[in-house]
Symmetry: C2
């Protein structure tokens, strides 16, 4: 298989300064681009200090083998013949990549949302490889509402008759809906309220309120960069993720130190999801801190410039 | 135009016991069916005491003229040539119907969600015709998040290439998404949690979790009874509804007595929407009480058997 990855900074002589950044559902390997608030020179994940690695996920569509890759057995894209994946499958690829890069143990694994799930799964499976894990607005057990939104997104894609013909407008609808769940009601009120592009114009079924134009743009730009099959596969991976339903791999407490971060306005994977992870980790004897950060930006807060959040990450990595 | 309506009970000699029930986005004239918890013999809206009237909305698809009706000028359904409607347009039809039925003033106008918006608009326009208005989990100003969900539902319908050919799978997607917003996260957890139809079966992209099967059913059954054009039109009516942006029709305080009801788990039109209506009504000198009811069922609570809510309605109508 192919793995697309990016690195930033230099691995030090004793190989102790590697940080693996794990991307979320729609991310890619270019962590310093999509996570420019957090990753870069002098940033909390400081590329002058750390050797930062980020890889596009297995099942992805940004260079790593996924359902849109060509199946050598048929000469056609895998499509729905691609196997379903667990978070463990994703981290298995990360681990193989790091071994190739000469890294046997990371200083930190860090990620938000599905990225946090990867950091968590890896630390549970191989704590000796993960000194610290920063698990940001993640869940170890999606709720019925979470799964419901995930299912509607897939329904929008799969019921789209053009889905199989490469013109997936359903993917735009899925993205528009998901995008609302990444924001908070208060954040949307601040950003859009009821502003209209042309105040006082006649009523129309077409987009009129600024929030509609914004969602249209989110849907359209997503179609240019993303693959509907990857969306189907990786959203499903999240639905099934439930690492604490498995017995621990070892009776010993995991040696990894965990920092769990949630945001008070996140209604997708809010604080109760992080507290659930903390309870389960502590029940296994792990050291797991949790901090709830005030931010109006909902689930998307992990991508935003929120000083208290960045300070918490910086301090945890510096210990 | 045609108006489909149902009546229950008898109008008394002085015409003082009429109750107009206003239905929500996807309702119909048969109030004693879809609102059987509230409307019927001995119920809070007691059909042994009141003359209860309910009419399918203008723009609807259950007997009243709407976009799926035949345009006599063309012999074809109106479709997207049907005019966009305001809540005032809807209540104008109600008022004409009531005059035909010999009712010049109702004891009570009552409705939930879009139904509550109608009761509110009517009382603001003609308080002399509305002695009491019960406005349940309504909004007088949809938020950006509300409009966003509404826009995604319309996008699912309008971008569906089969929409114009009478096989509107996009309408099912819109309904599935909206249905999640009618429930609460806690209500969904109680009802479904992460139960799977076949525990331990292999992962699949097809529906597996019970919440998925439930949403599939909601989508499929909606296609059998509802019209995508009506969904487009009436959801848009809600987006634009903002009655307090207009100046009052009269400097006199409205004589209507208002009861505003919200549910603590409703995140679509929650308590802050009702409090906004109360503030605006009081600013105009109207008598407006508000009660927040505890219920786990989210926005859908107004259709559920919630005793404290029913008692509040019963008591207000008995005064």
């Amino acid at each position: 298989m192919d793995v697309a990855y990016a690195t930033y900074g230099e691995l030090d002589a004793d190989g102790s300064n590697a940080v693996l950044v794990c991307h979320a559902l729609t991310g890619d390997a270019n962590a310093a681009d999509w996570w420019a608030t957090l990753v870069g020179p002098g940033k909390p994940v400081d590329t002058e200090r750390f050797f930062v690695v980020c890889a596009n996920l297995l099942g992805g569509c940004q260079g790593t083998t996924g359902p849109s890759s060509i199946d050598p057995a048929t000469g056609e894209p895998y499509g729905l013949r691609f196997p379903l994946l667990t978070v463990r499958d994703l981290t298995t690829v990360h681990r193989a990549l790091l071994r190739r890069l000469g890294v046997s143990r990371v200083h930190t694994a860090i990620g938000g949302s599905l990225g946090g799930m990867q950091a968590l799964q890896w630390a549970l499976d191989a704590p000796e490889e993960v000194e610290r894990a920063v698990v940001i607005c993640a869940s170890a057990r999606l709720s019925a509402q979470n799964i419901g939104f995930s299912a509607v997104g897939r329904a929008a894609i799969m019921r789209d008759p053009h889905f199989a013909q490469g013109a997936p407008t359903g993917l735009a609808v899925a993205r528009m809906m998901a995008h609302i769940t990444y924001l908070s009601e208060e954040g949307m009120r601040r950003k859009f309220d009821r502003a209209r592009r042309v105040p006082g114009a006649p009523m129309t079924l077409a987009s009129d309120f600024e929030v509609e134009h914004y969602l249209d743009h989110q849907g359209a730009s997503f179609l240019e960069r993303f693959d509907p099959y990857t969306y189907l596969y990786l959203s499903r991976t999240m639905d099934y993720f439930e690492p604490f339903a498995e017995p621990p791999r070892s009776p010993e407490p995991p040696s990894t130190r965990f920092l769990l971060i949630s945001f008070d306005s996140d209604w997708r994977f809010g604080t109760e999801h992080s507290l659930h992870i903390q309870r389960e980790l502590r029940a296994r004897g792990a050291r797991a801190e949790h901090v709830e950060i005030a931010s109006p930006w909902g689930h998307d807060s992990f991508l935003m410039d929120v000083p208290a959040y960045h300070e918490a990450v910086r301090e945890f990595l510096a210990r």
